[in-house]
């Protein structure tokens, strides 16, 4: 009896001895590579957002694997807030060269300098990224924009598709999303619209770390424990930097800390940690009792629906 005959007879078919399903990481990697290839094959001008943060590094690594032995067939885009950690910026340029990619930079500082944007009263620059990002998408005529967002990060993201349609203002309409069926990703769109694509949708924070360990991917140094002057504000450890100087009455402490996300210095806090290797970090992440955004991102604490609001406005 052949496999087909057995199935037609309603008997479940057993794989031959020794053939097992893919491991979790193999399955996630393969799914992401499939998504990356679909986008490159069906869009005219994709671009990949790249900050040097761990999710974007994993995404770049997957892109390099997806198109090997050819180079990554689209440019990378970094929206530089002007408040980036210097360690992350130097890492960014090294990683771009290592993977043989091309980088474009959109600068929030340029927009502030020529008056197209103004500083916010709270000095946070993450919300200011939206305008330079949308301008860069328009100027580059990009019809697909890869982001490193994961559905486990935040509750609004749990509802987002792998292919997420955006209008010309970059807005996400959570009540009007296309159904996404099987692995048939549909990127057809009207002129002026573009598609945000999230190849890491089904990864969790722990998956990302496991993969970094398995693939021996280099990261910016501030993901690992280092000594820094920090101050405790609103339950978060804020580093003393030119952007976030000590205030009167602060009790500055010298502590061993690391970062779980490496966004803008003005809104990214550290966690106390002695994790100096990927393995230590995985142990810590596996045991930690705080979600990474909740622990360290001031911009998500603005309101109960902070991420949802920023997504609607065209943030990733």
């Amino acid at each position: 009896m052949t496999a087909n005959d057995a199935r037609r007879a309603g008997t479940p078919v057993r794989p031959e001895h020794g053939l097992r399903p893919l491991s979790e990481l193999q399955a996630l990697e393969s799914e992401s590579i499939h998504i990356l290839r679909e986008v490159a094959a069906t869009f005219a001008r994709p671009v990949m957002l790249f900050s040097g943060g761990k999710d974007s590094v994993v995404m770049l690594h997957l892109a390099a694997k997806a198109f090997w032995p050819a180079p990554v067939p689209f440019p990378l885009l970094h929206v530089d807030t002007g408040h980036n950690f210097p360690e992350v910026l130097s890492y960014r340029d090294e990683a771009v060269a290592f993977y043989g990619a091309e980088l474009k930079v959109a600068s929030v500082q340029d927009y502030l300098d020529d008056g197209r944007l103004r500083e916010r009263p709270d000095n946070q620059r993450n919300p200011l990224q939206t305008v330079p990002l949308l301008d860069a998408i328009t100027e580059g005529k990009h019809d697909a924009v890869f982001g490193g967002g994961r559905r486990d990060e935040e509750r609004a993201r749990a509802k987002e598709r792998v292919f997420s349609m955006r209008d010309e203002f970059g807005q996400w309409d959570p009540r009007n999303q296309r159904p996404e069926l099987w692995s048939l990703y549909n990127g057809r769109h009207l002129p002026g619209e573009h598609v945000r694509v999230f190849p890491l949708s089904n990864w969790t924070e722990l998956d990302v770390w496991d993969y970094i360990e398995a693939e021996k991917i280099a990261l910016p140094s501030i993901y690992y424990a280092h000594e820094r002057d920090v101050v405790l504000r609103d339950g978060m450890w804020v580093a003393i930097t030119p952007v976030t100087p000590a205030r009167d009455g602060d009790s500055v402490e010298h502590r061993s800390v690391r970062y779980r996300t490496v966004g803008d210095m003005s809104c990214t806090a550290a966690v106390l940690s002695s994790a100096s290797t990927v393995h230590d970090v995985i142990t810590e992440v596996g045991l930690s009792q705080l979600t990474e955004r909740g622990a360290t991102r001031a911009d998500d604490r603005l309101s109960e629906a902070a991420m949802e609001d920023r997504k609607r406005e065209g943030y990733f």
Partner: protein, 458 residues
């Protein structure tokens, strides 16, 4: 390191932890959100800040304990209106498995949501309220899940505490469900008595159901057989793109990658079903030319064998005209390319589908124009336990209808029967103008037991 985490790390280090995809279905107020919240909570997948938030909101609502259903709240409108709008994806893990759960709302647009969730699911988790038993929504959801060929079904008989943990009530529901599953042709099913609010039989075994000796919900999910997910199905490989690097420089990040020269030509894609070995003969569809697999390449090094789910680059021993949209298939029973596509379509759009409608058909990695030749009736999901869905004559499909449709294609597609091939038997219908996803299609005979082989043409 905790013992659980240690077990988790060691399973992962050996590459043993696998991925299982679930979809939930249930009707309003049967406690689905609470069950999902309970699974997340009891597998330690909820972190302190999220739980603090849920406790705060619960207190504000005047509840005296955390309402676990709030863990699955997504959008502002959902919190404000107390409803669930769309499919949400949740993640939890045990040492043996990682689970991706598509949480499908039961009431609004249940067809659209259940079809979406079921399309990728290995297991469907169906809920009923123990006080109500198998209801109309249960029959509909199960019919949709079996239409989409979800391999396993687990029926959670929730709120068993509200019927005093009665074995009789449970047995009546289990008997109804067994009859329903048998008549619909559901492969593997299981029934579990649960109180999601109290935690009975979700993750921990309940002492209050001594008459039940089966697994808990999590225990079932951890041990359900996932081997035939990648199983001995026929080899299918939709080509995503042709790999022809201009230069042959070795990338510094790919130390174990094979040497590549300027003449390299390979085909990138993901094995959709079955497996392939170096030396195997394959047929290139829709053209029908034959070749042998010369190499299976990845940047991690060459492979002897690639199986369902793996993204690889295949090289052939013959110089053939292969481009995106082609399917490499085993030479045993390959699908015959056809311009006459007959199948079952779940219609997911407000605008109706009628004879003469022009759409795009997306199948594998190809996209082709199509025109609707006939609409042959819709499935009537209002059927009683013990009977099967029947057909109603119609000339158009409306939102949430499931119907038989015949399409004429502009180009021949090598499309399998969905009954045998969940990957290459599936297609979607796309609006030519605005790109909207209009419908989900399954080629070949309706993959569900129905009253007759098909509808009578209207």
């Amino acid at each position: 390191m905790s013992p659980t985490l240690q077990a988790e790390r060691s399973a992962l280090a050996q590459g043993r932890r696998t991925l299982l995809r679930l979809a939930t279905a249930g009707s309003v107020d049967d406690g689905k959100s609470t069950l999902v919240g309970r699974l997340l909570f009891d597998t330690n997948s909820v972190l302190t800040d999220t739980l603090d938030h849920v406790e705060q909101v619960s207190r504000r609502k005047g509840l005296h304990r955390a309402d676990l259903a709030l863990l699955t709240d997504g959008l502002r409108a959902e919190r404000e209106q107390g409803i669930t709008i769309d499919v949400a994806y949740r993640y939890f893990a045990t040492p043996a498995r990682k689970f991706i759960l598509a949480d499908c709302p039961g009431h609004v647009q249940y067809t659209r949501n259940t079809v979406t969730g079921s399309s990728t699911a290995d297991v469907i988790v169906l809920l009923v309220d123990a006080r109500k038993g198998v209801v109309e929504q249960t029959r509909r959801h199960l019919a949709v899940a079996s239409l989409l060929r979800v391999p396993h079904v687990v029926l959670v008989v929730n709120k068993i505490d509200l019927v005093d943990f009665s074995e009789d009530v449970f047995n009546t529901i289990a008997t109804d469900f067994a009859l329903l599953s048998r008549s619909l042709g559901v492969g593997d099913s299981r029934v579990i008595p649960v109180s999601a609010t109290e935690g009975d039989n979700v993750v921990s075994r309940s002492a209050r159901t001594p008459w039940y000796d089966g697994p808990t919900v999590l225990g079932f999910l951890e041990h359900v057989d996932d081997t035939f997910v990648a199983a001995g199905s026929d080899f299918r490989f939709p080509v995503q793109h042709v790999v022809r690097p201009q230069s042959a420089a070795r990338a510094p990040w790919a130390a174990s990658a094979p040497e590549v020269d300027g003449d390299y030509r390979g085909y990138a894609g993901k094995v959709e079903s079955g497996r392939v070995r170096v030396g195997d003969e394959v047929v290139v569809l829709p053209r029908g030319s034959h070749a042998r697999i010369e190499g299976i390449d990845t940047p991690d090094g060459p492979l002897d064998l690639a199986a369902a789910g793996q993204s690889v680059v295949l090289r052939l021993d013959a110089d053939l005209d292969v481009s995106r949209g082609a399917i490499l298939a085993s030479t045993e029973a390959p699908p015959a390319p056809t311009r006459d596509l007959h199948g079952t379509v779940c219609w997911l759009a407000e605008r109706p589908l009628a004879v003469g409608s022009r759409v795009l058909v997306q199948h594998g990695t190809s996209l082709t124009k199509a025109v609707v030749k006939s609409v042959e009736g819709t499935l009537d999901l209002d059927f009683e336990v013990g009977s099967v869905p029947g057909w109603q004559a119609t000339d158009r499909l409306q939102l949430n209808d499931i119907g038989r449709v015949r399409l004429a294609l502009a180009a021949a597609l090598p499309i399998d029967s969905y009954r045998e091939h969940r990957g290459t038997g599936a297609f979607i219908l796309v609006d030519e103008t605005d790109g909207w996803t209009l419908g989900a299609g399954m080629a070949g005979p309706t993959p569900l037991h129905t009253a007759s082989p098909g509808p009578v043409t209207a």
